[in-house]
Structures are given as C-alpha cells and as structure tokens.
Amino acid sequence: MALKMVKGSIDRMFDKNLQDLVRGIRNHKEDEAKYISQCIDEIKQELKQDNIAVKANAVCKLTYLQMLGYDISWAAFNIIEVMSASKFTFKRIGYLAASQSFHEGTDVIMLTTNQIRKDLSSPSQYDTGVALTGLSCFVTPDLARDLANDIMTLMSHTKPYIRKKAVLIMYKVFLKYPESLRPAFPRLKEKLEDPDPGVQSAAVNVICELARRNPKNYLSLAPLFFKLMTSSTNNWVLIKIIKLFGALTPLEPRLGKKLIEPLTNLIHSVGAGRGADRAVSAVLISLSSGMPNHSASIQVRPARAGASPPLKYLGLLAMSKILKTHPKSVQSHKDLILQCLDDKDESIRLRALDLLYGMVSKKNLMEIVKKLMTHVDKAEGTTYRDELLTKIIDICSQSNYQYITNFEWYISILVELTRLEGTRHGHLIAAQMLDVAIRVKAIRKFAVSQMSSLLDSAHLLASSTQRNGICEVLYAAAWICGEFSEHLQEPHHTLEAMLRPKVTTLPGHIQAVYVQNVVKLYASILQQKEQAGEAEGAQAVTQLMVDRLPQFVQSADLEVQERASCILQLVKHIQKLQAKDVPVAEEVSALFAGELNPVAPKAQKKVPVPEGLDLDAWINEPLSDSESEDERPRAVFHEEEQRRPKHRPSEADEEELARRREARKQEQANNPFYIKSSPSPQKRYQDTPGVEHIPVVQIDLSVPLKVPGLPMSDQYVKLEEERRHQQKLEKDKRRKKRKEKERKGKRRHGSLPTESDEDIAPAQQVDIVTEEMPENALPSDEDDKDPNDPYRALDIDLDKPLADSEKLPIQKHRNAETSKSPEKEDVPVAEKKSKKPKKKEKKHKEKGRDKEKKKEKEKKWSESPHCPSPVSLQEEVDVNAVTASKDECEDTKMEAQGEEDDAEGQEQDKVRLLPRGLWRHKKEKEERSKGRKKSKKQPPGSGEVAGEAAQEPVHNGAPEEEPLPPESSYSLLAENSYIKMTCDVRGSLQEDSQVTVAIVLENRSSSVLKGMELSVLDSLNARMTRPQGSSVHDGVPVPFQLPPGVSNEAQFVFTIQSIVMAQKLKGTLSFIAKNDEGATQEKLDFRLHFSCSSYLITTPCYSDAFAKLLESGDLSMSSVKVDGIRMSFQNLLAKICFHHHFSVVERVDSCASMYSRSIQGHHVCLLVKKGENSVSVDGKCSDSTLLSNLLEEMKVTLAKC
C-alpha cells in the first residue's frame, strides 16, 4: 500500500509540467501535431486522477495548448474543478484557463455561479481578485444577473485592490445585464472620488466607456469630471476624461468654452520635453471633436512638423476630427496632407486619404483626383491600391456628386480605373458607371460610347479569370450599351463584340446581363434597319444572333442558359417572320419599352402603409405575364444598387419640396441652356403622384466635349482649366449684371460650399435625377442603427430617480449587512416586498410611477443615495472585527453625512438602495408608507400601473394593488423599561453551520446604557462563537453604548450542529444604566429562538431545475392544511417568502411552487394551493424532520393570516 503511494507520488513528480510540454513541442518540430495529440491523451489521463495538483497541472498545459489553437472546450468541467480548488495556486490556474476558453456558449458555465460567489466573498483578497479577473472574461447575462449584487458590494470593499477590480468589472456586467446599470450607478459615481487613484481611474474608465456610447445620459457628470480633470495628475485618467469630454461637448456647447482654459493649461503645463508631445497630441485627439475654437488645428501643425511617425499619424487623425467641424482650418493644410500621400508608411497614407475625402471642393476635386491617380499607378500592393480606388470613388460620388462639375471627366476617370489589375473593386466601379449613366441623362451618349469601347477592348476579358475582379465592369458596360442603345454610334459593331466566343469565359451573372442586353441591342438595330428599309441587313443581324446565341445556351450557369434559350427561340421566331417579310421591329422593341428610374435603396421600406390597406389582399387580379417582362432589367439594376454604399439624398419635407420645385421651374425658364427632359414614356411612373416631387438637381452644362477613343482624364483637366479661365474672364465682364446667378450654387446644395465654389460654373448642365423616394416617405434613421448593438440597451436615463423596484437580484447573503451603520436603521424603507426584483422591469411602468414622485424626489435623488461599505461575511466571525469595521464605517458615514446634510434634509434616506437589498421597517416609516400608499392611489395613472403589475410574472413579491402592511423580519426578543431587544436570525450559504443573530437594542429609558454584555447558555447543538480565549460562561460584550432613545444593532455568530430542529437558547443581557442619579446594574433575560426557517436561505430556482429535483426521488414528503384564510394568495405567498425565506419558482392561478435551501444544503420544495378558505402546503425536502418542523412553523404563520 505504502509502496503504491510512493509510486503514485513519484509518478506525479515526473508528470510533464508546462515547461516540459513547451520543451517537448520545441523538440518535435517535425511532427508537432502528433506530439501534441499524444500530450492531450496524457492530459486526459491526468484529468481523471483525484489529485487536484495533477489536475491543475493538466489544465495549465491545456491553457497553453489553447493558445496554440487547440480546442479545449471538452475540458470545461475539469477547469471548473480546478477553479474550485482551495489553494490560490490552483484557483489561479483554473480561472486563467476559464478566462481563455469559456464563452457564452459554454454550457457548464452556469455551474460556476456559486463557486464564483464564494470566491468573491473569500477572505483572501487574491482569491477574490483572481475570480474577478476571470469573470471579466467570460461573464454571461445569467452570471451578470446573479452576481451583480455581490460585485456591487465588492465595490465598497476595504481593499483598493478589490475595489478597482470590482468597479471595472461592473462595465462588463452592465453590458450583459443592463438592468443593473441604474441601481449600481450611484455607487459607481461615488467611486469617482475614491481616495485610491487606482479605483478612481477604474471608475473613470468605466464611465467613459459607458458615456462614449450614450453621452447624453452622462452630461450631468460634467462638473464632477471637470473637477477631476483639474485636480488629477494621473495621465491615464486625464486622457480618459478628455476623451469623455470629447463625447460630451457636441451635446453641450457651453462645455467647450469652459474647457478651453483648463486644456490650454494642461497643454502648457506638460508642454516641455519629449513626453509633452504625447500629451499634447493625446489631448488634441480627444478634444478636437467639437471644440469651438481653432486652437486645436493650430497645434497640430507643429506637432506634425516634429514628424516622428506616430505623431504624424496622430496629427492626421486629429485633423480628420477637426475637419468635421472646421473644414476651413484643415483645408489650409492641403499641401501637407498631399505630401503625406507620399509617405512610405501605409498607415499614414491611409489617414491622409481619409482627410482628402473631407477636403475636396469643386475647385480642387480634379486636382486631387489627378494626384490620387498618379498614386494609383505608383502604388505597390493591392490593398493600398484598392483603398485608393475606393477613396477616389468615394470622393467623387460624395453628397450626390456634389463636387463634380464635369461628368465626362468622371466617366473617363472610371474608365481609366478599369485598367487597374487585380483590384477587388470592379463592382464598385461598375456601380458608379451604372449610377452615373442612369441618373445623369446628358452624359448617356458619352457614357455609351465609352462603354462600347470597353466592351470592345480585350484587356478586361483577359482578366476574367479572377472572380469579382475588374471584369465586373463589363456588367455595367453591357447593361448601359443595351439599355441606352439608341445612343450607340455603331450598334452592329458592339453587338458583335458582345457575342464574341470569349465572352463565355466571364462569370455567369455577367454573361446573363450580356444575353439580355444583346437582345436590347438587337431590337434597336432591327428598328433602325427596318426604318431604313434594309430588310437584308435586318435578316443578317438575326442570322448573327441565331449563330452566336447557342454558345450561351450551353453555359453551365442556369441563369445564362435559361435566358439564352428563351431568346434563341424568340429570335428564331423573328427569323421566320422576317422570311415572310413581316415587320417585326416594333414588336421586338416593345419588349424593352419604358424608361428606368433610379430608385433609392431604401425606398421600398419607406413607403408608409395607408390606413385601411390590407397588404395581403389582392387589389387587382394578379398582373399579367407580359407586364413583368420589363420588370426584369430593373431588378437586375436594383440589385446592383443595393450593393453600393450610397449617400441618400436628404429628405426634404413637403414645404421644402414645393419651394425647390418652384425655384427650379423659374430657373428652367430663365436658363437658355436647360434641356427639357421629354416626359417619361412609362405609364407606371406617370401615374404615381410622387414622380413630380422628385427633386431634380441641375448642374449647368456648356458645349459637350468630344474626346474620341478611350479618353485620358488629364485632357479634361487642361480643358477644364481653360474653360474656367474663360469663364472667369466672361464673368468679370458681366459680374454686375448677373449677381443672381452667383447665388444659385449656394442654394442648390444643402451643404455649404467654400466660397471658391461659387465662382466655378460647372462645365455641363446635367440633370442629376435623384433616386426616387415614395411620397411622404417615413423619415427614419432607425434603420441605420443596428438592433443588435449591445450598447443600445445601456441607453438608460441615469438621472431619473431609482424606482423602488429597481434593485439588483439578491441571493440572500444577508450577513453581509453587518457593517451597516446604525443611523441607517432609523431611516430605512417602508417596502416589504421582493428580495428579488422583477427581472423584466417595464420601463414605462417606472416612468409612470416616477412621474408622481419626481418633483418631490428630484433634489434628493440627484444627491445619489449611497450605501455604507459592507464588510464581507468572513471577517465578522470574530465579533470584535465586526465592531472595528463598524466603527470605521460609522465614521466615514458621519463625515459623508456632515457634508450632505444641508442639501438632503431629513427626507434623504426615505428610499435607499441598501447594499443587499434587505428592506427593514421602523416606526417612522410606517407613516411614510401610508403616505406612499395614498400617493399611489391618487394619480389617475395608478390603475394602469396596477394592471400592468398584475400581468407581470410573479416572483416573490407582494401584489402592487393591495400592499401588505409593512413587516419586519425582526421579532421581539425581550423588553423591559430600560431596553427593547429585537432580533433577526440569518444564515449564509458560505458557512454551513453558522448563523448570525442581529440584535437591535433600543434604549427606552432616560439613562445611558453601557457595559452591555450578552451571555447565552450554550446547548449541545448550538453554541455562541466567542472571542478567542474566553470561556463558555463569559458573556460577549456589546461593542457600543446607547444614549437615551438611541438604538443600535449588534451581531453575534452562533454555531449550529444540526439544523433540522428548532432551537431555543436562554440568555441574559446585562448592562449598566447610568443617569444623573447614579448607575445601576440591570439585566434582561431572553430566549433566543432559532426556527427552522431561519436556517433557510432564499435561493432562486429555475423551474426546470425544480422539476428535476422533484423527479430525483431523494426527497421525503409531508403536507399541512390550514383553514380559515382570507388573505389573497398573492399576499400569502409574499408572507411565506418573507418569513420562511422561500422564493416562488412558478405560479399558476392559485397554485404556486416554491423553493428554498438550508444553509447545510437541504433542498426544500413546496407546493402551495389555495382553496376557498383554506391553504394546503405540500412539502418535499431532503430531510424529513426538517420538513415537518418547517411545515409546523408555516402553519403557525398561516394561521395568523
């Protein structure tokens, strides 16, 4: 036997540890995978052993393997085992593994809840710390909900090390469980002024993260942060605060002005030495978003002159932020920015590109794009080139082509871009071509000629092997040539180009467009020929089609095949007709009659549904097939359009539209160059009332330039310069006459053009048809928001007073309240309600209730109720420790109180967020609760509130409509003329054999009571825990004195062996009553009653777990029945929950299942049924004695109802 043990431990010694594993992997470079799978097998063996050290070692190795990319989710359970080890060494390994490998989908994660809770309240700060660190990585909504309250308590831990971690992790909790934000916020705010800089920085960190997403809710914190900013010396905190202000200033412009001074101070105070640069840039970046002054940009230039790469980068970054608010101050740095495009660092180049986007104007667009084009040619690496390409397109197309004065130039730029090899953005270019050709009518002729030469050129086809490559452009080219075939110079030539055998190498979707547009082209050629009377020519074209189309019929792509075979049959039919000399052109071109209007991508969604319209009912008979024919190309186009990011034209309201229309008409009348568009031939659109409302943006157009072949955009630049020069000369002449005209540019575009823009009249007058939007489209920005955005849920008004029901879910660690300062008890809450709030709090419900009380409370709430710092449970095992911490707590509380007293007044503590959510009651508040009840009934909205409450799932709370009279968990222990003793017995899950007795001592006499000592006669089963060194007969001193009329609470810990029976202990309180006449020794006897219920701890239980428990069959059963009950079922349940520490699992009508757990882990399940006048309680419990005793106690409670 001994030998075996020795062998076991020797084995263990030679187990591979992490270092061996790493070494092994390094030594097996050739067959790493094999070696690792071998190791994983070993690890699996190790995990099977009982020795925790072996397991921990195995888990440690697994963590390493996870890092190398191996899945270790199979070991999740073992990780939890290691997490629950008692030694810190192992615990740390376990939590590290968990933080690396657990995620929301890990199913065993719910098993960790209790373990984590235990660690959080561990006496060792490092156990707590390691648990917090781990939890921060894998917190799930469930964990967040269950642990929120524990973590919140830790925010007031005595050790700053724990405090800062607890504060930081709250952010994660908020994200996962947004309901916790409001209850926790006051304390978070408090932590901003924590004495420890680490905690302070953590709190700033959390609030900044929160505020970044929903800044408006945090405006009220501005003064506090302002103070912090001027006082803090921690750079990290400063940076964060300035970032925060960056988010706040746009909402509150006055803030900006206030900030200038401290910020300049800051810049100057750190303004020397190397570190200074950093601080300056840091400050700049953060503040620049929305500062009302230009100091920012002034600073950027010197910073960039320094030219160390990081600073250059940041300078550009800052500029891009300033650009949004002060475009002009950035535009003056154009030279520098263009220089940055030549920088060897890609990051800097990309930043510079971003900046250019915002800097273009009509005047410099061509120049900037030209510069960019040269970079495109030079650029190495496709990523950067692609980036350049998208930027060029973005820059040109921004704000509905606002800055483009010459669309021919733009088309030629696009065509030039098609010569790029290996770009991913062929479809982007294609989309632009389509968009421009469709929306700018005047450019179509030019576009068609360019496109046909594109179709003709071979280089695009050559690259067709790359999917998504530049050949996408052909998609657009084919479509444009087909759709606008009337503009084609040599349609026959183009047709042949489109029917080349090489086309079949293109991707399917492009071929499909080819096939479709070949027919369009064919139709228009047919028409031309017939009109010219060339029957032979027409037949030749048909023959060409019949010859070439079969190559598409054989295509592997279904779409191509289908279209091609359809069309082939059609053409063959035409051929027959032609043979008989029947004119067919009219009918063929009828296939493609009508014009396509661009439709905004979101137009469909925005059509408001008129009243009384049933969208599912047929309005007319289903449309005939022929009509859907011309629908098809549009669908193709529309699909294309969806893909493209688009600047939607800003929606104008009715008035604005009317005004614009009027102005437009006037202008058209005055403008000799205006080409009136022929009325749209398509009926569908004419019938739509909205068509007239389409805003048409016009750009003036002079003589179109004709550049044959593939144009070089450079030519346009020269031409443009000449044109502008000419224009300027002309303009000088007639400046006086035509002042109106100058103003035009200003009005036309919503955004402010730079003053130079006004001087440039565009080269072409072009109708830019804006995309169609349905009339009175619903203005909605909502669709821009991602409904899954986790931060959306955190958009919560934090200044609103906390509703009573807003508490964190509490899992009954009532002991932790021990350190509550005594004053608290004089002013607690008149709310005997759930210990666990409704999980799904209805917002509007709170609102309703809040409104009633808002005025009265507003002032008070703004002071933020704060909580005393509770000391964790373990520390109080020794009563002296409790005393000490309590005193401390009292002191701090006193100080805090002193400062706030004036403002808060006596109402201050009316409703307060207690650390563990235990609601107590005292004399004073009884009145108040009455008052509250009244106020609740008065407002007209209260009926609604009650109705809603009734619908809500019932957890363990009293019903809203008929609140129970306030009750206290404190029961009378003993009283005499001097003193009144009330007590409450509390268990805790951490200590399976200990309960804490909280005794409230109230001095009723006019004497000062001191030297109080509590002595209890221990029984075999229950003993009082005494300070070390004292004997069983000694009393335990009460750690305070009581002046007349004052009450205070003392806590005593008792050790209980068996909890299945109720206990009674005799005890005596001895004290000295001292008044003017002298001191007398007095005593008061009492009997301390430990009911079985007091060993129970409210534990929530899910119904599925509950069902499993009942099914397990390990529980013994018993039942009682009580008659003559008049109380409502709701209140009845509330009573059971309150007095016997149960929680409601499920409630159906007048039947409810309830659950609780004893401190020693007995499960107690109840089924409560209400009859006419009776209530029956069936109980199941893992201990039959406990159950019968419990039911007896319950019977007594119920009998009182």
Partner: protein, 191 residues
C-alpha cells in the same frame, strides 16, 4: 476597450490573450492576419495600423516591436493610441522586472506567468492599472502566496523540475516512470 493582446515572435508564433470571444480557429486566423499586417512594416514607421478584417476593420492595431517579439494591442476607438503605446511599454518593463531581463524564451516557457502579469494590468479588456510599481507589488505578493502554498509538498516537485531544467543532453527526454511497474516477488505462501 482592448479587444485582444497579441504577442508573437518574428515568425508569427503566438503568445496571446483575447478579450472578445472568438473560436480557436478564428483566433489563429486573426493572429496570422495581424502578423501579416504588422510584420511587413518597416522599423521606423508609426506604430499604428488599422485592424484586419477579422477583428474589425474599424479597430486599431497598436504595436511595438522588441528584438524578436511583437506586442500588438487591438483596441477600439475609445482607447488613446499613445496611451496604449505607453501601456505596452509598461507591460514590457513589468515583464522585465518579473523575469529579470525578460527574453522570448521566458515568455515561451512561462506563458501562464505572462498571463498573470497581464491580469494585473488589463482586466476583461479594460485597463486596470498603469502604475508599474503597484503591478509588481501585487504580482510579488501573489507569487509568495503561491510559494507558501506549495510548502513542503512542493519541494520534491521543485527538485524534480530543477533536475529537469538542468538540460543535460544525455538525459533522455520524457522519463516516464509510469511504465516501470515495480514487481513484488510472489512469496510462496506458508502452509
């Protein structure tokens, strides 16, 4: 928020920490992508780079290159670039203190310690502490705690690992005593 902290050497071998949940495969892809993005950059260019597609294009990569190692922090827009750059510096200095002249091998063989060090600086993607002295103090206390826990029981294990670490080439790797079963001779029973 810091989304991930990647440490890899010049060959892309990882030592890392993620604060956003990704599957193991995605993690490896991210590392490859990031390595690709970062390693191609010249020495004297700026330390920032827009993130790859996997980790989110809008995020920044902030990195420093020390000898053979890259330290890359993937952060979103709420973090200040220079602040993070300083944080990397603090991190490396802290490692230097904890390992006494840190080198790549330290990080390879003591990945767990690196994680523990990091845990004192960054928690769940949020910066916890930037003061190096504070960080080092806490780590020392925890290490002491670990040592005291190991106590006597840990002594033989330490001895063995010391032997293992002697790195004698003659000693065969992976001594596995588990295979040697100690045979107790079957004593003839007394009748």
């Amino acid at each position: 928020m810091i989304k991930a902290i990647l440490i890899f050497n010049n060959h892309g071998k990882p030592r890392l920490k993620f604060y956003q949940p990704y599957s193991e495969d995605t993690q490896q892809q991210i590392i490859r992508e990031t390595f690709h993005l970062v390693s191609k950059r010249d020495e004297n260019v700026c330390n920032f780079r827009e993130g790859g597609l996997l980790i989110g294009g809008s995020d920044n990569l902030i990195y420093r290159h020390y000898e053979t190692l890259y330290f890359v922090f993937c952060v979103d827009s709420s973090e200040n670039e220079l602040g993070i750059l300083d944080l990397i510096q603090v991190f490396v200095k802290t490692l230097d203190k904890c390992f006494e002249n840190v080198c790549e091998l330290d990080l390879i063989f003591h990945a767990d310690k690196v994680h523990n060090t990091l845990a004192e600086m960054v928690m769940g993607g949020m910066v916890l502490e930037t003061n190096m002295n504070e960080i080092v103090t806490q780590i020392d206390i925890q290490n002491k705690l670990e040592k005291s826990e190991a106590g006597l029981a840990g002594a033989p294990a330490r001895a063995v690992s010391a032997v293992k670490n002697m790195n004698l080439p003659e000693i065969p790797r992976n001594i596995n005593i588990g295979d040697i079963s100690i045979k107790v001779p079957n004593l003839p029973s007394f009748k």
